[in-house]
Subunit: 140 residues, 3 copies
């Protein structure tokens, strides 16, 4: 069994943002030499997501507005108890649960086995700081 | 390491619907000969889901009503910016995030290692068109 | 390829609760002898979740309040059709979709490859009964 581990460093200059990391995952799969296997891609931080959806600017706007309605930012510690710790990012922990922590993608004949529109995104919900994404490839 | 790749073709005759695909995944695991390993099952399209829950008609009704309340269909491009592209399926991209893209299931002694009620579903949120599901089995 | 299968028995004494199961997963990874691979951890029941987030009491309070707002408990069978089966736990099936069924975690140099705050939780949404969690480790 072959395996490869890569860490990406993210540093998005806004509270909420989405970045396409498909090129970095594609490169990690190529470097692994794995022909048949799985690629796990996950956020290593709990106020961020990795997910697969469409690389379309309007949709990302919609994700942002929708997540803000479902889990609004509110630093008031009487609203979210988590913000009694001195943090103001409780909403980011909730948003991340909707969008997910990780994706697992099949590798077939040495490539990410994707449908026509699948792209991998890092979703940031508490930005302006450095975070990491893990890529783990296993297979043969 | 053994591996097997299968593609299922789905073509559901309604905007939103849920179909039990456990038999197809069970058959793929059997065909793989894998005794101990993992099965990844994912939608290859970004307006559909693969998820595990109960095969109960009333619950599927509840899922539909609940998802429609959380992410309502609205073709108006002033509501969802994604619909400025000429699409009207922004709501389907949001619904799929709640229900998820994929499941990873353990294979133990040659079988899907399931709890008493676990069943695998394809969830369609923008139907009336052909889509695909990927099954990837790895293990020994 | 090495593999290990473990089942945890959960029995939480409340309708909704979150329990940190990271120590049990850490021990399973150690026992497997796997140095490079993947650990799948999933609820075997469809009214419970396994997810990764912060071990902070205030945040767990926020999760509970938020999930109750998004998918309220309501035993009335005219509200949730699932409750026409004699069950009263339709809300628990919905809550579990938001929080997810499973996590897949990388194993690097024999350890769970975690970011600074990642902890694995069992999320119960229909407690007062015995349920199981599956841990499957594969790798080399």
């Amino acid at each position: 069994m072959k395996s490869l581990t890569r860490y990406l460093t993210m540093n998005l200059p806004s509270k909420m943002a989405f970045e396409n990391i498909t090129p970095q995952v594609t490169e990690a799969v190529r470097a692994s030499g794995v022909q048949e296997g799985l690629a796990l891609v996950n956020s290593m931080h709990i106020t961020a997501s990795v997910f697969i959806n469409d690389d379309e600017r309007g949709l990302h706007h919609d994700f942002g507005k929708w997540l803000e309605a479902l889990a609004p930012f509110n630093p008031d510690p009487t609203h979210y108890h988590h913000n009694r710790t001195g943090e103001d990012n409780a909403d980011a922990h909730l948003k991340r649960q909707i969008m997910g922590r990780e994706v697992v993608v099949a590798i077939t004949k040495g490539k990410l086995d994707f449908g026509p529109w699948e792209q991998i995104f890092y979703g940031e919900f508490d930005g302006f700081r450095q975070k990491r994404v893990l890529i783990k490839v296993i297979g043969e």
